[in-house]
């Protein structure tokens, strides 16, 4: 399947038809729900507390529903009006904004306890308008995101990287903007189940301890490790 981000800009690609398909396809919704749950788990929020969360590229609110189930209050941003229309019709709990995250976020400093983003980040790596510079947009996005997270908060991005250099660019942009953290690759040995989660930390948590990268799922004992290293090593395996 061709990568959707190569076909059209997100606000065009996710038109009414595509948005409706996306939301009614049980396979897609199940995968989205599963990835959302994993992303929330990686946020490592305090047990039983209602958090104020940001859903970046919330679409029709599939990931938001998972946040609702966990009792969180959320704000969702998306660039596709058709996706947001569906979210409005579904009467999702979160507050919705039509926004291009590559333009930066306007929330007040320290507003959110965490952020999740499901299948979005790869879209930011494209230049869809003549005025778009992906590198500048990534940086603007990460800088403003860092600001609106409270100290010690995490941002977890599930995404579909196109290649290694794209991962490197995204990570470099995030680190330059003050984030620490790295990549968690779940089920690295399975082509179909493999999932990439970029886990970013906005500063240290309240206890002052350095945050450790969560462990990936589906890794064999003694396997490459839990951070970016795991991915780097897998590159050395010759391609078939």
């Amino acid at each position: 399947m061709p990568r959707p981000e190569h076909q059209a800009p997100p606000e065009i690609f996710y038109n009414e038809d595509e948005a409706a398909k996306y939301t009614s396809n049980t396979r897609i919704t199940a995968i989205q729900a599963e990835m959302s749950m994993r992303a929330v788990e990686l946020l490592n929020l305090p047990e039983g507390e209602t958090a104020y969360l940001l859903d970046l590229g919330c679409g029709s609110g599939l990931s938001g529903e998972i946040l609702d189930e966990d009792g969180h209050i959320w704000v969702g941003l998306d660039i596709s009006p058709s996706m947001l229309d569906i979210a409005v019709q579904k009467d999702v709990e979160g507050d919705l904004f039509l926004q291009d995250i590559g333009d930066g976020l306007g929330f007040r400093p320290g507003t959110f306890d965490g952020a999740i983003s499901i299948s979005v980040l790869q879209w930011l790596c494209n230049a869809d308008k003549s005025c778009h510079d992906p590198w500048a947009r990534l940086q603007r996005f990460f800088t403003t995101l860092f600001m609106c997270l409270r100290n010690g908060a995490r941002a977890v991005f599930q995404f579909y990287p196109e290649n290694d250099s794209q991962i490197e660019r995204i990570m470099a942009a995030a680190m330059k903007c003050g984030f620490t953290g790295g990549l968690v690759v779940d089920y690295p040995n399975s082509q179909s189940a493999r999932k990439y989660y970029l886990c970013l930390f906005a500063g240290q948590d309240s206890s002052g301890k350095k945050q450790a990268l969560p462990k990936a799922l589906g890794e064999e004992e003694g396997d490459a490790g839990v951070n970016g290293v795991a991915y780097e090593r897998s590159r050395q395996v010759p391609a078939f």
Partner: protein, 118 residues
């Protein structure tokens, strides 16, 4: 909680709060959660919230943040209404710094910027 994010509009005295006008609002009942409200308190810029609430015709909030805010149930209940129950259906938000108007349609603010504002 929201300020203008247009590039170059970074005068902190002007880019927040956005001024809401020509609005219709609705109240949707939401579950009360005292702990959440208490954790929100330090994040709020009280003056901005108060003046915005008054513009929206909500009168329940005191002009200054009470010193017993964390335990004052009457106050927390009013705050709950403002933060979680009042929704702007239609309207516009205007930045006092760069005069950008962010329209709100169907409860969703349009935060897209023009090319020269990025």
């Amino acid at each position: 909680m929201l300020q203008c994010h247009a590039k170059g509009c970074d005068d902190p005295a002007k880019n927040f709060p956005l001024e809401i006008s020509d609005f219709t609002k609705e109240e949707i009942e939401a579950e009360k959660n005292k702990d959440f409200l208490v954790r929100m308190l330090p994040k709020l810029e009280w003056n901005a919230l108060y003046t915005t609430a008054v513009k929206l015709g909500i009168t329940g909030l005191p002009e200054t943040l009470p010193s017993d805010a964390e335990t004052n149930d009457e106050f927390l209940s009013a705050l709950h209404t403002v933060l979680l129950e009042v929704h702007i259906k239609e309207g516009k938000m205007t930045c006092n710094g760069c005069n950008h108007v962010y329209p709100i349609k169907d409860g969703v603010p349009n935060m897209l910027l023009a090319e020269h504002e990025i």
